[in-house]
């Protein structure tokens, strides 16, 4: 067998493939090897990691699980056989159970990710290290705990250099947080469109009028945008001057010296600004948001017993609770699963769930804001840099409780389409059908032309039966609702 054939066979056995979202930093590349995460690194990046990981600040952060657990994998077969391409060294990272993106995070999640980023910088700089970029995608959540994953972002801090990640930090963390805290605008759809963050000029248009006097707006938004416009104008003149006839050369890089006090002062100032931010949602009285359902206590108990009975079988390691609201049923399933992905389109409910998980969760629930009528798509470079929800994992069990009427009636997605989508997700299904006679469905129908004649229990059962076996069912709310346990055929 030739060497290349051996390598091909090894590659196939290890299921190694480069991650489509990891290419911007030329010093390394992430590879997936089955369930494991390997990172091919250049010699300088490897040496940086070796010496940074010995530093007390790094060890302390890693000990607090604020940095993703990382080991040297250069001696592993995959690295030695060249399965990681041209990279001479390799690192292995703890696998993040489920990747989420900033446009799926709630306000408190983005805020905690921002504060983690600043905390790392504040500890790294006095020790002689800095992060080379400030992408919000470098933070991931394991349960409700943010963890920094881009280990090769650590590079030696050179005295006199500016903080190179400032602009990106503003665009990906600060401005989106300001939009929510100061204007009450959810940043999710904005960050989904601007995957590299909100440009200072856009932030200026949005914030400089109505939030002019809010903390941080004058310096980080208005002034920043002004400087950008001025620098752009002078660069435009320069670009026009650089004709072949003029024989001019571009001006040298700006050489302003940035002292350590300037860099740390800037970082501490941002930390103060962000730490004080609150979401307008938090300021409203939560009251009975958890009890914001139309069940009597007895019916709710019946529903809980039904779900627990089927979720506790032990067969379900990965549960997706779609339309989870504040996560009452996610929390019910968490003890029996390794991981629960809790998805809802309501930013306020997800923030509430995140706060609660942060306080007393077991680290199994990942809350995410996703509009179920328009879930996160494949996007970015070649449509592969950021993956659609379905491409990031598959559930063993899906909970779909009191959701179908929102999808079919409010979002106008045909019932057969929705059931096809659930089937495509994979896994068994616990689903609650809300009849058109139910008071909540009636509310949704109130201002609609009734074109939902096929929205009946009989049609629902006919559609699901093609794909699932109805293993169990129970009527709730006096027959206005029915909950099913459906086993995949």
């Amino acid at each position: 067998m030739t060497a290349s054939a051996v390598r091909e066979r090894l590659l196939a056995s290890l299921e190694i493939s480069p991650d489509a979202g990891s290419f911007r930093d030329r010093s390394n590349r992430v590879f997936r090897a089955g369930d494991r995460i390997l990172r091919g690194v250049s010699k300088p990046a490897y040496e940086n990691w070796k010496s940074a990981s010995e530093a007390p600040f790094f060890k302390a952060l890693a000990g607090e699980r604020k940095l993703i657990a990382t080991t040297d994998a250069s001696g592993e077969e995959a690295a030695r056989a060249g399965a990681l391409g041209e990279w001479p060294f390799a690192l292995a990272h703890q696998t993040v159970p489920f990747i989420s993106y900033p446009y799926e995070w709630s306000f408190s999640m983005l805020k905690d990710a921002a504060l983690l980023h600043l905390e790392i910088l504040e500890k790294a700089i006095p020790a002689g290290w800095i992060l080379k970029d400030s992408s919000a995608y470098n933070v991931q959540f394991i349960g409700a705990a943010p963890v920094f994953i881009d280990i090769p972002s650590f590079e030696p801090y050179r005295a006199g250099e500016p903080w190179g990640g400032y602009r990106q930090f503003c665009m990906m963390f600060l401005y989106p947080l300001m939009l929510k805290a100061y204007l009450g605008v959810d940043f999710g759809p904005i960050l989904r469109a601007y995957i590299d963050g909100v440009d200072p000029l856009v932030a200026d248009r949005l914030l400089s009028r109505s939030a002019r006097w809010k903390k941080g707006v004058f310096s980080h938004v208005t002034l920043h945008a002004k400087m950008q416009s001025r620098a752009s104008a002078s660069e435009l003149d320069e670009a026009k001057r650089l004709t072949e006839d003029a024989g001019d050369a571009p001006e040298k890089k700006n050489k302003i010296r940035h002292s350590e006090a300037m860099v740390l002062g800037l970082i501490q100032g941002l930390r103060g600004t962000i730490a004080k931010m609150t979401s307008p949602d938090e300021r409203t009285v939560w009251g009975d948001y958890d009890a914001d359902h139309s069940y009597s206590d007895a019916s709710l108990q019946k529903k809980k017993v039904f779900i627990e009975k089927h979720a506790r079988s032990g067969a379900y390691r990965k549960v997706w609770d779609i339309g989870c609201n504040t996560g009452v049923f996610s929390r019910l399933c968490a003890p029996f699963a390794d991981q629960v992905i809790s998805i809802d389109g309501d930013a306020k409910a997800i923030d509430r769930l995140y706060q609660r998980e942060k306080r007393d969760g077991a680290g199994k629930i990942l809350p995410m804001i996703v509009d179920l009528g328009n879930v996160s798509p494949n996007q970015g470079w070649r449509g592969a840099e950021r993956k659609s929800l379905e491409k990031r994992g598959r559930p063993d069990l899906v909970l779909c409780l009191a959701l179908i009427h929102h999808i079919v009636i409010a979002a106008n997605i045909p019932m057969s389409e929705f059931i096809n989508w659930l089937d495509d997700l994979g896994g068994d299904l616990i689903i609650e059908f809300v009849t058109a006679e139910d008071a909540m469905a009636q509310m949704l129908l109130r201002n609609k032309v009734d074109q939902y004649q096929d929205y009946t229990i009989a049609e629902f059962e006919r559609l699901v039966s093609a794909r699932y076996e109805i293993a169990d069912s129970e009527e709730l709310k006096g027959g206005h609702r029915k909950i099913y346990f459906l086993r995949r055929r």
Binding site: R167, L236, A239, K240, I256, S259, M262, G265, Q268
Partner: protein, 55 residues
Amino acid sequence: MAATAPAYAYIDPGSGSVLATAVIGFFAAIGYTMRKYYYKAKDAVSGLFNKPEGK
């Protein structure tokens, strides 16, 4: 074609951000330095009055 490309395509929006960090950083450094000395002075003063017991 490159010779006729619009000059607008060569603007680096990051240049303004570096200038902004210099201006904001200048003021931030004053605050930072003052805080640092304040805490140093505070520690020194409390050190004078809170001598460890038995010494």
